[in-house]
């Protein structure tokens, strides 16, 4: 009797699961499948084929998949190789507090996508719960002054290192990363800045005073440690994050994931000073073989090469962690990180680290998030190719998540003695 086990069945979405099958015949070839329906009913599926050992067991921590959505030894492969039934659908949890994602895992006879062949019933199945919050994390809707967002606090007494979480070109309020960081001991403010509540429906300018209010809000909060805060930011969010680090006080540690080191598309304003958006050559937009738009070349004659447009990163006081997907097709992330860090080095500054991942794309998210290689964003018409190859992208997500947390903890939780 085939038996499928997974430990733990219920866990945080960034925690690994150990999946095993027992009770097969020696060297039997089986198919392991995972499926998930998101909150809008979109189906995501993955499969991998394994050959049992001489005692009829499969252990995903030990055994290599021979085919399917990934090959090789990848204990979490069924999760990060999930693919949408409808191309271009991105997996993103909306309600992070009340419900997990439920992932059905099945072990079955191998079957192949031949039409009119009805698959056999699975030999065994189970459901995993993948949560975006740890027990005891609280969510506070933030509507103070101009600020709009959600503050996630870890359970327990005391103060926690504070950070601002910024997403990019989708607008709205994206909470899943902040809620996970709160589950790991951070007071994380998921901050919206356009396309949410009474914020502008379209981002017209980056008003740094809005983000300064957010820094001050966090530092005032009784559960936030201080004396500075961190920023974790991706894409457009990272453009804002870098601008914040350069202009604002009390930003101790900034994580910039696949962002530009110059203003794109919008003015940045702060107390009367403006940075103009960098001119772009839209005619350098390419298309991949499936017709998805790639924008990463559009600054190759301007921002990529002309330092006049670059943010004066040497003025920032905190530390930087650049996370780069080398296969990013939306932005030339590697070039931007190199340009920014060269500027720091030229100014005698060593307050930076670059983590550069071959094969990773634009959307570097917490571990085990499925790769979304292309999707649509508001106000942009062709579908956008984000880039990334499934296996290296998954590895980048796993590695960078640990590094990001250590980086933030290292700089935000100061040793009392280091202040002497």
């Amino acid at each position: 009797m085939a038996q499928l086990t997974a430990t733990p069945l219920s866990a945080l979405v960034d925690e690994p699961v150990h999946i095993q099958v027992t009770g097969l015949t020696p060297f039997q070839v089986v198919c392991l499948q995972a499926s998930l329906k998101d909150e809008k009913g979109n189906l995501f599926e993955s499969q991998a084929f394994y050959k049992a050992n001489e005692v009829g067991e499969v252990d995903l921590e030990r055994d290599a998949s021979v085919g399917g959505d990934y090959v090789g030894v990848h204990p979490m492969g069924l999760l990060w190789s999930l693919k949408p039934e409808k191309l271009l659908t991105r997996l993103a949890k909306r309600d992070v507090m009340n419900t997990p994602f439920q992932v059905q895992v099945k072990v079955c006879e191998p079957y192949f996508p031949i039409k009119n062949v009805v698959p056999h019933a699975p030999k065994d199945s189970l459901t995993l719960e993948r949560w975006y919050v740890a027990p005891g994390v609280t969510r506070i809707q933030v509507k103070e002054g101009r600020l709009r967002g959600a503050l996630f606090l870890p359970p327990g007494e005391g103060r926690f290192p504070g950070l601002i979480d910024l997403f990019g070109s989708t607008g709205g309020l994206i909470e899943f990363r902040a809620s996970l960081l709160a589950s790991h001991g951070f007071a994380a403010l998921a901050l919206a800045y356009w396309g949410y509540d009474d914020l502008p429906p379209l981002l017209e300018k980056v008003d740094l005073e809005y983000f300064e209010e957010a820094v001050e809000f966090l530092l005032r909060h009784p559960k936030v440690l201080g004396p500075g805060v961190g920023v974790i930011s991706v894409c457009k969010g990272a453009e804002v994050g870098l601008s914040m680090a350069v202009n604002l006080k009390n930003i101790t540690a900034t994580v910039l994931i696949n962002g530009p080191n110059f203003a794109i598309g919008n003015l940045h304003v702060y107390r009367g000073q403006t940075s103009l958006p960098t001119p772009t050559n839209i005619e350098f937009t390419s298309s991949n073989a499936l017709g998805f738009a790639e924008f990463y070349r559009t600054y190759e004659q301007t921002g990529d090469v002309d330092s006049r447009y670059c943010f004066p990163i040497e003025k920032a006081e905190g530390h930087f962690l650049f996370v780069v997907g080398e296969d990013d097709k939306a932005l030339n992330s590697k070039a931007h990180a190199l340009q920014a860090t060269s500027q720091l080095t030229r100014n005698g500054k060593k307050n930076w680290t670059v983590l550069s991942y071959p094969g990773a794309g634009h959307l570097i998210e917490p571990p085990y998030s499925p790769l979304c290689c292309a999707s649509r964003i508001p106000f942009v018409s062709p579908n956008i190719h984000w880039g990334g190859e499934v296996i290296p992208h998954a590895a980048a997500q796993e590695h960078s998540w640990k590094e990001i947390q250590s980086f933030l903890k290292k700089h935000l939780i100061l040793d009392v003695t280091s202040q002497l």
Binding site: G67, G68, R297
Partner: protein
Amino acid sequence: PMFQLIVTPSTALADEPVTIRVTGLPPSQIVTLKATLKDEKENLFQSRAFYKASEAGEVDLEWASALGGDYIGVHPMGLFWSLKPKTAFRRLIKKDVMNSPFYITLDLYDSVSLNDSATIQPKASQMVQRWFSGPGVQRKQIREGRVRGVLFLPPGDGPFPGIIDLFGRIGGVVEFRASLLASRGFVVLALAYFAYEDLPNKLLEVDLEYFEDAANFLLAHPKVQRPGIGVISVSKGAEIGLAMACYLKQVVATVCINGSSVVLDLPLRYKDLVVTPIRLGLERTQVHVSGAARFRYLTDDLWNKLNPQSMLPVEKAQGWILFIVGENDECLDSRGYAERAMQQLQSHGRSRGRMLAYPGAGHLIEPPYSPFCLASWNPGVERPFLWGGDPADHAAAQDHSWGEIQKFFRQHLIPTRSKL
């Protein structure tokens, strides 16, 4: 505005190049050239490229470099081979090759046009006709004995070199390559072998005597050059074509495009001989990030575990063999198979084999300017097949190989006397 879009010739065979020029533009103006085609099922295919006019206000695709869009660089026929389906995974195949052409509309916009707009009209438009048969080519339905297919005859008395044209597991009859070759002076039998008329619906084995019947039929035709015929074959058809070359003395020149040199999946039968196939392990199917199935690794450790009897005995071939290989073929390891066959020829002191390997080309190497197809649906399978290839390299391979294929057939099928 005095823009002029000049496209010549406006009517041509589909394998003939077209010159595209724009004049009367403001100097250095950025323009978009867009191509649109609707196939016989109303599926829309489109391509576009962005160019910068010269100081003299001209764009001539013979020397102008596309800055972005569906291709980059100098590609005079780029708008044709980079045509992409609006609905992913559809492949462009002309069904009626005699009575109608493909109509391609070329539009000029005086700005960067990333998408279609209902409101923005092109500044100039031209339509071209792309025909799959030349004047005087005749098409005859063939039902002789067991043989089923379509025969194409060039105009005139002949005799002409005769060729059997074989496609792969798409089944039925695919006519467009045969009709184009007939337009170039060959008698071509587009031969069906399953899923056509009263032939078996499914391919369960390869009965070489059927193909011998077809070869004999062709050789007996009053317009066909004796003493031998050629075969042009792709994919599964190329494995059959190679088997014909090995066993049938009627076949004196064989072109194998991206086929295997071992008997795969289905038994090969010829008179008393039955060759056991190498098993395809469907559990080794991989899934590409687009969801398409990648079959390249279905054979496990093939060359080490190979039963030599499953290898096609190329040393028995009396005629000439040309292997056309796309090195980025994701459907099978075309280069590996062709190299093995070449080694086998050499080790038996046979010198009538030649391999043309094209870096960056994928599985579906077709006549020039056929739109690059990364992946497409195949009958009876619920996932698209990944064909592989890089668009520009693939286009170059199609261009080069077509000339080589015709030279090869003329060289080996036309007796030297008649070339004087």
